[in-house]
């Protein structure tokens, strides 16, 4: 049994740079993050023989509360989140950095579980964690654990995926049900325990994106509708591409427990966060091909065509309701639910 496990909680001294810090790094972090370039504990890691062309670079911080939730934890979220952000530009994610801000008092067992889950996703996706950092702050200065991840990916030649590339007539698809992550988090929050467990959809999407890019060279936009949900992301697409977005209520997949939860809490699934979903905007002629690719992949079984881009109402997202009426889907106001990711 290593010495670190004799102490059950993180102390300020674990971030001091002294012996306890060293122990934490050697016995916990390096146990799971075992990339050869990390072993030397150098100030910076070198990337040899880097592909010269277009690099994608992205960063995101994760402050989700609670740090464990059905379907995932803050660590899995932090690795998937940055992998997905890189993938949404058509990049193949290669390297990640991980930065931890730990509140003193966090149990080492919980930290270990989170680090293990990060290492697991990185391994599964073939993405290398090659640099990292740990800080410990006093009680109350953070809430248990915050994680930052940054990532580097390479964009294959000829791939041009951007929020700005949407054109009139393009078809919008999604790879499955919306709102699962948001509702999983809300249902875990104090006082809101639903009898049915709702699992977060938290998942790395790089494999699926690779398949999509193989299937069609006419994909214009890829987006992961995380914070703010599908409604917000479609508004962003509409504004960035200077087009209108038309979606159909009947075609948007929502899991029944999520729908019930939304009814109970007065929320709209359109604005709930997703962590394993992507929106594909593709030229009409390739839309069936993309739909097939999605539904043939385990992360896209419930994929659907949900709408189109139109020149009719540039900058606006309009939903055609089940009743045959139309409704503007606007940007949500304010922070609906803080610390969802």
């Amino acid at each position: 049994m290593s010495t670190i496990h004799n102490k059950d909680i993180i102390l300020l001294a674990h971030g001091s740079g002294g012996r306890l810090s060293h122990e934490l790094i050697q016995e916990l972090f390096l146990k799971y993050f075992n990339d050869p370039v990390l072993k030397g504990l150098e100030d910076a890691s070198l990337i040899e023989n880097i592909y010269v062309g277009k690099l994608a670079f992205s960063t995101d911080s994760y402050v989700v509360k609670p740090i464990f939730f059905p379907g995932g934890d803050i660590g899995k979220l932090a690795i998937c989140g940055t992998i997905n952000d890189l993938s949404m530009r058509g990049a193949r994610p290669l390297y990640l950095s991980v930065g931890f801000i730990i509140e003193e008092g966090l149990s080492i067992r919980e930290l270990e579980q989170i680090v293990a889950s990060m290492a697991r996703v990185a391994k599964e996706t073939g993405v290398r964690i090659i640099t990292g950092d740990t800080k410990v702050v006093e009680k109350g200065a953070a809430d248990k654990l915050f994680i930052n991840t940054s990532g580097i990916g390479v964009v294959p030649p000829g791939v041009d995926i951007s929020n700005k590339n949407g054109r009139e007539g393009d078809i919008i698809l999604i790879n499955g049900t919306i709102g699962d992550h948001g509702m999983a988090i809300i249902s875990q929050r104090e006082g809101l325990n639903f009898s049915t467990s709702i699992e977060s959809d938290c998942a790395p999407l790089n494999g699926l994106v690779e398949e999509l890019l193989k299937a069609s060279s006419n994909i214009h936009i890829l987006r992961d509708p995380t914070r703010g949900g599908l409604g917000t992301t479609l508004n962003e697409i509409s504004l960035a591409s200077g087009v209108g977005v038309k979606i159909y209520e009947t075609s948007i997949p929502v899991r029944e427990p999520v729908r019930i939860g939304c009814e109970m809490l007065g929320l709209d699934p359109l604005y709930l966060a997703n962590e394993g979903k992507l929106i594909v905007v593709v030229a009409m002629e390739d839309s069936q091909k993309v739909l097939e690719t999605l539904t043939n992949h385990h992360q896209g079984r419930e994929a659907r065509i949900i709408g189109t881009l139109t020149s009719n109402h540039s900058g606006l997202v309009v939903m055609h309701t089940n009743l045959g009426t139309q409704r503007v889907v606007s940007m949500p106001a304010g922070e609906l639910l803080p610390r969802i990711c």
Binding site: T321, N322, G324, T325, A333
Partner: protein
């Protein structure tokens, strides 16, 4: 949940729309009292389904919206008392008091303000912080008040001495009377609040046809419910025989919920209340009975405030709440007043008419025909 999808069944709703659209006669003004109805009407695009001769007006049925700025200022004073924990429903946080300060800004400045989903959560906080006073900001109509009564009775049972209520609770029938007495808008029918009526019963609205000759119908919140409510109002207008109707039978009984009514009046008694846009209405508020006055945050802390800065005089929430204007007629609407920067409560609340217009309004979609073909 299957029950929900049947109330959203487009085919059933279309049948009702067909009947409503066949109406031929003088133009009709209906008011949905309840803010949740207003939001549902917008969310489902129900106004687009109505013929031009039938107009829906939004009423004062949003507890946050009708909370007067005086009460917001008093709440802010309570929040600034050292050691106090304020517990409140989330909507109230953003409502600006005089001078633009809100509970949200007070929170950022260090006041301990916690959002709860139920009064029982507030009670839990009181139990866990026995050395600090916990004040629950009690807003809401007859739907919410019984739960507050239950919390008071529970506090009494447990001997909790640090739990207090600032009661801003209001009763809906007196406000409806006030609007009709003012006579600013002509109403041909009122859609009564479904949740409130679940507690007070449909009979609480019988005065509308009897005393004012105005048809009413209690309706639920699904598209089918609302359309059924409208259809029943149209039917009464055609017959020229105003009466009451219940289009929300699966929830509302004539007598309401007697135990909820009992618990409400065991703890509270009626009092005058100040309504935004309507002023003071006698018998429209609820204050704690003498027996429970030791839970009264107002009596305990005697909050005061200096009215140094006037309310925003350009804000027309008052007229919106009375159905006199539609939100887009307010010069602040969408230009300076938005859900991110609300200048009045109707833009803040998830039941407010201004926020419904802002979020779902399709008045800026001129390219669409007013009625989509069925």
């Amino acid at each position: 949940m299957e029950i929900l999808s049947s109330f959203r069944d487009p085919a059933l709703s279309r049948r009702l729309v067909k009947i409503i659209r066949s109406y031929e006669g003088k133009p009709l003004n209906f008011m949905e009292f309840c803010g949740t109805h207003t939001h549902a009407v917008f969310k489902y695009g129900i106004r687009q389904l109505l013929p031009e001769d039938i107009k829906m007006l939004s009423g004062p049925g949003c507890p946050v919206c009708v909370t007067d700025s005086r009460d917001i200022n008093l709440s802010l004073s309570l929040a600034r008392i050292s050691g106090v924990i304020i517990t409140t429903f989330g909507d109230l946080l953003k409502v600006p008091g005089s001078g633009g300060k809100s509970l949200q800004t007070a929170k950022a400045e260090g006041a301990d303000i916690r959002i709860v989903y139920s009064t029982l959560d507030a009670l839990k906080i009181a139990r866990e912080n026995k050395e600090r006073p916990i004040i629950f900001l009690g807003i809401g109509f007859e739907t919410t008040t019984p739960t507050v009564s239950a919390a008071i009775l529970q506090a009494e049972k447990e001997g909790l001495e640090n739990f207090f209520i600032f009661s801003m609770h209001k009763l809906t029938p007196p406000a409806t009377r006030a609007i009709l007495n003012l006579g600013e808008v002509h109403l041909d029918g009122i859609i009564g609040p479904g949740h409130v009526s679940t507690v007070i019963g449909s009979k609480a609205w019988e005065f509308l046809p009897l005393e004012y000759g105005v048809p009413f119908v209690v309706a639920g919140f699904e598209p089918f419910d609302i359309l059924l409510g409208i259809e029943k109002l149209v039917e009464q207008c055609i017959e020229g025989r105003p009466r009451g109707a219940n289009a929300y039978m699966r929830s509302v009984k004539k007598e309401g919920n007697p135990s909820a009514i009992k618990i409400m009046y065991d703890v509270f008694e009626t009092s005058p209340a100040l309504w935004r846009g309507l002023g003071e209405i006698p018998g429209s508020g609820l204050k704690l009975k003498d027996k429970y006055s030791h839970y009264d945050a107002f009596l305990k802390f005697m909050p005061t405030f200096k009215a140094e800065i006037e309310d925003n005089l350009n804000c027309r929430c008052g007229e919106v709440l009375r159905g006199v204007i539609d939100p887009p007629q307010c010069q602040l609407f969408k230009k300076v007043c938005s859900p991110d920067n609300p200048l009045g409560p109707c833009m803040v609340s998830s039941e407010g008419a201004c926020s419904a217009y802002y979020l779902y309004g399709n008045y800026d979609l001129p390219t669409f025909p007013p009625h989509t073909p069925l």
